[in-house]
Each structure stands twice: as C-alpha cells, then as structure tokens.
C-alpha cells in the first residue's frame, strides 16, 4: 500500500508540475514557434548486482539545443512475441530527463539471452508520443529442447520406445519364423510323394 501511496503523490506532483510547465511552455509556444524534437536513449547498467534500465529523454529547446526533458512519464516493456510485457511501474523522468526501472531478475530471453526492451511515452503535452527499442543480453537463455526426438509412446512411429520395439519384433518375428517353417513343411509334404499322381480322366 505504501508503494501506491507514493505513486499517487507522484501523479499529483507530476500533474501539478506538468500543468505549470505546459502553461509556461504554451505561452512560450505562442511566442516563438519552435519545433520541439524529443529523443529517448536507453542504457543498461548493473548497480549492486541489480540490473537497471535507464531511459534518458531529451528535447530540443528554443535554440535547438538538446536539453534533458524532466517530468515525462515513461513506461517500459519487454517486447515479446504476442505483446509488450510491462517492466516495472510507470516512471517519471527526473530533472536530468532520466528514469530508471529494475530489469526483472528471471525473464527468459531468446536462445542467446537477448531481450528487446522498449521504452515509450504517450500523449505527452509537449513531446507527443515516442518509443525506442534496444536489445540487451539480460534475459535467461532459453533452450527450446528438442524433446520431440525422444522415444515415447506418443512420438512418431520411428521413435517408439525400445522395449516396445524389441518385444513386438521378437514376438512377431518368432511367430512368423514358425509360420515360414510350417510352409517349408508343407512343401516337404508335396515333395514326399514317392510317385507321380497320374492325371485322372
């Protein structure tokens, strides 16, 4: 609950600050038509064995100089096959335009352990919406184990369990060997005739 308490406060603070800032900016914008360009940069550092993702939001000021953009609400995601997995809570950039979020300790990556992190802000009054992506090798490497090739009752015909293959082959082989022997005996019966049977009219 404490966490949420702070968050609520943060929102209120952000709201107040943002509205003040935007009103000032709005005045400025009316004064000077300047195109504000924003950029997000991601960096990955490990602090005290905790993996942190840092996003730095910058914007261009009236003269086109790049300055940090504070009070921008950022959300972080890991890009996964079917959607964006949220990482951590929404963060607001501080006076340096930085927001940090902890990277989950045990998030699977791809085979090499790569995870694509995405940071974005949406519907910011000044900067609009923007996102950026970067891959980091902080995921747990995942082995798509090829258990399909194991021998099992549910597997393909060529992957039958050895006990089954051996038992069935032995039984079928044994019985049919006897059948073949019987057929040989039948042939011997035919040959055991001591004289030709003459054709009957």
């Amino acid at each position: 609950m404490k966490k949420y308490g702070f968050l609520w406060l943060k929102f209120v603070a952000v709201f107040l600050v943002a509205s003040l800032a935007s009103s000032r900016q709005g005045l400025q914008a009316q004064d000077e038509p300047a195109a504000v360009q924003a950029a997000i940069k991601l960096s990955f550092d490990t602090e005290d064995s905790v993996k942190m993702v840092t996003a730095t939001v910058t914007k261009t000021d009236a003269e086109g100089k790049t300055i940090p953009a504070p009070e921008v609400e950022l959300t972080f995601y890991a890009k996964k096959s079917f959607g964006l997995l949220p990482i951590g809570d929404a963060q607001t950039t501080d006076e340096n335009g930085e927001a940090k979020v902890e990277f989950p300790r045990s998030l699977p990556g791809d085979r090499a352990g790569n995870v694509t992190v995405l940071a974005k802000f949406e519907d910011n009054e000044e900067l609009g919406s923007m996102e950026t992506m970067q891959t980091v090798k902080w995921g747990i490497p995942v082995q798509a184990d090829e258990e399909i090739n194991q021998r099992a009752l549910w597997a393909s015909g060529s992957n039958a369990p050895w006990p089954l293959v051996i038992t069935v082959s032995a039984m079928v082989g044994g019985v049919w060997a006897v059948i073949i022997y019987i057929l040989v005996l039948i042939f011997q019966i035919k040959k055991a005739a001591s004289y030709e049977i003459k054709k009957q009219n």
């Binding site: 015909g157 059948i179 019987i182 049977i197």
Partner: protein
C-alpha cells in the same frame, strides 16, 4: 487286425456319408438368401462410399457404432478355432474329431469378415495401405492388424493342413464333378499319397500350429479389448478387459460351433458322427465357459458399481436401470444366465434345447458387444451440449444394418460354400478312429 475287406466296406460307407453333397432345394434357397443380403449390403456400402460415413448414425460423440461392435463380435467368434483345434487337441479330448473342421472354418470365416468390416468402418478406406507403409508400432490398432493377419494365416494353415488327406480323397474318389473342381482338389492335395513320411510331417505341423495358435488366440482378443481399455472412458478404463473379452469369446465361439453342428447334422443326416454325446459334451463345455464369463462379468460390473464414481456411475445406471436396461438385462439373463441354468441339466444338453440355447448365446453376444461399445461414448468427460438432438442418441441407420447383416451373411456364405466343396467332418480322422488302415483311406491311382 481286421481284415481288409471289412475296412474297405466301412471306408466306402464313410465316403458316402461324409463327402460333400450337392445343395438341395433348402440349400439353394439359403444361398440365394445370403447372396441377396450381401447384395443389399453392397448397395448400402456404395452409398456410404459416395456420401461418406454420414449415411450412418455415428456422429462426433458416438463415433464408433455397430461396425466396431460387429468387428469385436467376429474376432470373438474366431477364437473357437483355437478352442477346438488346439486346446481340445492338446488336452487329448477324444470326441472333438468331427468338430475340428467346423470350428476352424467358422474361425477363418469370422476373422476374414472382421478384417472386411473394419475396412468398411474407415472414413478413407482407399488409404488402407497407410497402415502398412506409415504404421506406428505404438498404436493398438496396428497391434490388432498384426495379430489378425497372423491369426488368419495360422487358422488357414490349421484348416488346410489337416484337410490334406481329405483333399486327396476328394481328388481320387469323387465322380461327376466338373473339371475345375477336380483341378482344385488336385492342386490343393499337394500330391498327398498318405505315405508314412507325409503323415509324419503333417502331424508335426499340426502339433506345432496347435501350440502356436493358443497364445495367438489370447493375443488377438486381448489386443482387441485394448482398443477400448487403452482409453480413459467410463466403462472402458478397466484392467479387466483382456480376460473379460477372452472368456466371452470362448463362450460365443462354443455357441457358434453348437449352432452350426446342429444345422449340419440335421441337414446332412450326420447323426452317426455328431452324436448325442457330442452335444452333451459341448453343452458341458459351454456351461463351463459361461461360468467363467459370468465371473468376469461380475468383476466388470459390480466392482465399479460398488464405488459409483461420477461418470462410471452414470454409465452403469444407464445399463442397469436407464435407457439400455432392457437390452442389458435381456443379454445377461437370456444370453448368459439362462444358458448356464439350462445346461447344468442333462436334458438341457440334448441337441434341440442345446441348439436353441446356443442361438440365444450368439445373439446375446452380438448385443453385448454393442453394449460394450456405444453406451460408453454417450458419457464423455465433458457434457454433450450444443449439438443436434440426434447426436445425443445412437440408432443404426438402414445402411448400417444392411452392411452389418451383409458381413454376417458373408461369413455364413463362406461356411456354406466350404461345406459344399469339402468334407466338413474329417473323413480320414474318423477313419483312423475306426481303425481303418492308412493305405485304405485313399487309393491313389498308380
């Protein structure tokens, strides 16, 4: 050592009695009837090939119907070959002699039509060869294909090899037969002359086959029971299925042999060879087999009934007191209990009562197989919802009845035609029993 002349006279008597005879009026009507039934079935099957299995009443929930229960029925009956030819032989039961060929042809015919009806049940019969090229050894169906093929082969051998002396008799002693039949007998008789060596080889083959066919017979019906027991369904998920099916198979096989032997005896006047003693002994055998089957029935139904697990309980209620109760109780009472009671008495084991009982056993067994297959499918783990009302029930369509009847008619036709062409009671074995020397059994022209 009796003098040759007497033996010769008796041999000739045997020939008169036991050589295959022409069909009389009754026989012809019977054959025409069977052919008509098969024709109707063929017409129905052509409709099925054209429109698909939708001509049946099988749908997504009741996906196995009377084709499959008929298949199980055929496989069950086919075990009788091993019963009489092998088990009774290896236990040296003397009165089995006239019955061996009857049971063996029933077995061959039944297993043949089991294979045919299973192809009829396939959604894509033209892909039958996939079983051999792409077969998965883990599948119980493939085990069934293997054992059925093997059992059919061994049964044919057990039918054919002991028939060699009789084929030689037919080759040498039949008069007034068309050329194709003479050729057939000659080819099949394999130069049989009845010399010591040939008898020795033949007896050795029969001995080996008799030993081999017993585990095969147990395998074939155990594997067939595993088509059901390897699933999770209520009523099928039972460890009892192997022995339950096998005991039922021996019972219905014995019933089938009794029915056929009665008809043949009456029609061909074979009272001298199939005597009251044979009926009495087959009756006793049938009682014994029925008691074993009763034991496995008790295990199969009362044990789950004691527990009444959710789904199994619903299934059992359907059988005991629900929709299938009339069929279930008729089958159990008239197909199993009444035969046991009647056959415990000597009067019940006389030919006519025994024949009636055997018909009850066989018909009851057919419906019992149906009760094993379809009611379970109406109690799946998830409730049957959001489907047409007809999908919550199963009653076979006329096409299914026609095709099933055709397969039964076909099996009977194979037996009938066999009796027409070959001696149904082994002449040489009866002759041997009557101490007629081997030299006189056949007299090949030198």
């Amino acid at each position: 050592m009796e003098n040759e002349k007497n033996q010769d006279v008796r041999m000739k008597e045997l020939l008169v009695d036991l050589m295959p005879k022409k069909f009389d009026r009754q026989g012809q009507i019977w054959v025409v009837f069977l052919v008509l039934v098969m024709g109707l079935g063929l017409f129905a099957y052509i409709r099925q090939l054209k429109h698909g299995l939708i001509v049946t009443d099988m749908r997504d929930y009741t996906s196995w119907g009377i084709y499959i229960s008929n298949f199980v029925f055929f496989v069950a009956i086919s075990l009788v070959g091993s019963l009489v030819s092998a088990i009774l032989k290896l236990t040296n039961v003397p009165w089995r002699t006239p019955l061996v060929r009857i049971s063996e042809i029933i077995a061959v015919s039944a297993i043949l039509f089991a294979a045919i009806i299973i192809i009829v049940d396939m959604g894509r019969p033209e892909r039958f060869w996939h079983l051999f090229v792409y077969g998965r050894i883990q599948s119980p169906i493939l085990w069934d294909v293997i054992v059925i093929t093997t059992y059919l082969t061994i049964s044919v051998l057990l039918l054919y090899i002991p028939m060699l002396p009789d084929l030689a008799i037919c080759r040498d002693s039949m008069v007034g037969v068309p050329k194709w039949r003479r050729k057939l007998y000659k080819m099949l008789a394999l130069n049989w002359q009845g010399n010591k060596k040939q008898y020795a080889i033949m007896n050795r083959s029969i001995q080996i086959l008799a030993v081999l066919i017993i585990p095969l017979a147990f395998s074939i019906h155990t594997v067939t029971s595993w088509l059901f027991a390897t699933t999770y369904r209520a009523g099928w998920d039972s460890t009892n299925f192997g022995p339950y099916f096998i005991s039922g198979a021996f019972m219905v096989g014995a019933g089938a042999v009794i029915a056929v032997m009665y008809v043949l005896r009456n029609h061909y006047r074979l009272e001298k060879y199939i005597t009251h003693r044979h009926f009495d002994n087959m009756g006793k055998l049938l009682v014994l087999l029925s008691l074993v089957y009763l034991y496995f029935n008790i295990n199969e139904y009362l044990v789950p009934a004691f527990k009444m697990k959710e789904l199994e309980g619903a299934h059992l209620r359907e059988l005991f007191s629900g929709h299938y109760a009339p069929m279930f109780w008729s089958v159990q009472i008239f197909g199993m209990c009444v035969p046991i009671v009647v056959l415990l008495f000597k009067k019940g084991r006389r030919p006519l009562p025994l024949f009636i009982i055997s018909i009850m056993v066989v018909v009851g067994a057919w419906f019992k197989r149906f009760l094993i297959v379809t009611p379970t499918l109406l109690h799946p783990f998830i409730p049957i919802q959001n489907v047409p009302l007809s999908w919550t029930r199963y009653f076979p369509t006329w096409e299914e009845w026609a095709i099933t009847s055709a397969s039964l008619a076909g099996a009977l036709l194979v037996i009938t035609l066999f009796v027409r062409l070959f001696p149904i009671i082994p002449i040489w074995e009866v002759a041997e029993e009557q101490n007629i020397s081997h030299e006189l059994i056949i007299k090949p022209v030198q």
